[in-house]
Symmetry: C2
Subunit: 323 residues, 2 copies
């Protein structure tokens, strides 16, 4: 039986979740792929942290070149987070002939042309399913099984923190500050929630969706973005009075003249719309295509194991093609 | 540029929709695949019917062997409907070395072991995305990007006719007979609606989902099945009083001992559940996996262009792997 060897960059929460995903479901993963799948090297400084996974100390490396230049390694998984050095590492890995998988929306959105060009130039695969919608296999579907469509629109609830806060404001009658504190207490919001509540994270994901669906790259900084910090109890009540709920929507539409308009902002959604029942920290991406009409993909937008599910899905897809 | 050549079995409504899907989006499809994609031969007796597509009479053949034995043809699309001769034709096509794509749930569900075995024996691909959930790319996702999961449950609204009837009973206060007539008038139910309203069509789809998700094949006739013909206004009112809606659910669960239980029956669904907002003729498949937790895929469960979208998705996936 062949073996697919992986180098993993980063063993934080998401890295550990991905490692654990492979550990938990190795039988299913290897049966589906038809090959052994192993993480053989890990770039990580913090060797001693308790992680509840079986990892041996000699798997750890401190120099990323130990992974990039290892001729045995087929795939590099990047789970460092942040734009740099993640983007530079991914490009370097591809230049060394490695296929690359990442969950890093900030690095992908800020460097989409450079990274896809690196994949093309090196004839390797570059996959980033987990970067939008966490565990939801939406990118693979939009670029694969639904790719026969001419897409005309996308509406995404692509940030779990803000969806949770808006849900608690609407369903539990909390004000914004209370809901934010509740989200932080439950682990759905970070200590510094800026990137989430200001819509920056959602703009990263919209940038990636647009590039994939419309072949149009817009840097996330150039996407008009309004977060949820100004949402009041009065606004929530106004939505309810109009049979709506407020959701932070990442939205892009192809206009009649072919121009694409795009923005991230809090939006009234009718209560009978499928996006209205995307509650708490869940995510969903709703798209329109000229053949299929309307599609929606729903699931967990974050979390170590859901992200591990999507990352391993990308790994398996690459593995199937290279064995 | 390479060319992928297709033989099409059947140019009825779905066959025409598939042909039209390729015609409408040929630029997108060929760009994504990196090859020309053409339907070169069509098995169909009714040559003269007006179809609103550009098809030349010399593409038509009356003997399926003209397609199976044509060394130029890479892929056979089966859209005849019904179990036979569709199943025999698909096996024969694979025995002749052709990759096969179908939308035919009845033929796939009744012959799953035989057809997947034929694909394996001939080392060809056998794809049937459109057989469950119409245009929703659910099978490809479950068997691909989400395949790292150990699935534990599936709940599907996989029949548009019954979902439309139940919707009209619930939202428009119709009784069953009135809602059925309305569905027939709008083209959502056939003149003989038995296969839909008795749950037979949903059982076919559950059989396919179970085979794919749990590697467990159950013939659709062995799935306990209750349709919607006994649903009364009183039952609808009872659901509402309990903050529920009634949906015809195709359901399979892995029990703690590993046994899988399965059935198709009308089921109370809480109004805040994502499946509750699957209205009218729409379909959705809701699954649980041990990594990702909950996923739902929503979209049109039938129709010529949505089915064409899924069929062409399968064709493109095969094309990417053989060019």
């Amino acid at each position: 039986m062949k073996e697919i060897k992986i180098g993993l960059l980063g063993l934080g929460n998401i890295g550990t979740g991905t490692y654990k995903s492979l550990e938990m479901n190795k039988d299913i993963i290897e049966k589906s792929v038809g090959a052994k799948v192993d993480i053989v090297k890990i770039l990580e400084k913090d060797i001693d942290r308790e992680r509840d996974i079986t990892v041996s100390k000699d798997q750890f490396v401190s120099d990323p070149e130990d992974i990039f230049q290892d001729p045995e390694i087929d795939i590099v998984i990047e789970l460092l987070g942040g734009v740099e050095p993640a983007a530079t590492f991914m490009e370097r890995a591809m230049d060394c002939g490695k296929h690359v998988v990442t969950a890093n929306k900030a690095a992908v959105a800020a460097n989409y042309p450079k990274l896809t060009e690196a994949a093309k130039r090196n004839n390797v695969m570059f996959k980033f399913e987990a970067s939008v919608g966490g565990g939801i296999p939406v990118l693979t579907a939009l670029d694969g099984a639904a790719r026969a469509n001419r897409y005309t629109e996308v509406l995404g609830i692509v940030n779990g923190t803000t969806n949770y806060i808006l849900h608690m404001m609407s369903e539990e009658d909390m004000d914004y500050e209370t809901a934010l504190k509740d989200a932080q207490a439950k682990g759905f919001a970070e200590a510094d929630p800026t990137a989430d509540v200001e819509g920056i994270d959602a703009a990263n994901k919209l940038s990636i969706l647009m590039a994939l669906m419309f072949d149009k790259y817009v840097h996330p900084k150039d996407i008009p973005t309004t977060g949820i910090t100004e949402i009041t109890k009065e606004k929530i009540a106004e939505a309810k009075a109009n049979d709506c709920v407020i959701k932070l929507i990442a939205h892009a539409t192809v206009q009649e003249d072919g121009e694409i308009t795009y923005e991230v902002r809090p939006t009234f959604i009718r209560t009978y719309h499928p996006l209205a029942n995307v509650l708490k920290e869940f995510n969903a991406v709703y798209v329109k295509g000229n053949l299929v009409g309307k599609l929606m993909f729903y699931g967990p937008g974050a979390g170590p194991l859901p992200t591990g599910s999507a990352v391993m899905g990308d790994v398996m897809e690459i593995a199937r093609r290279i064995i």
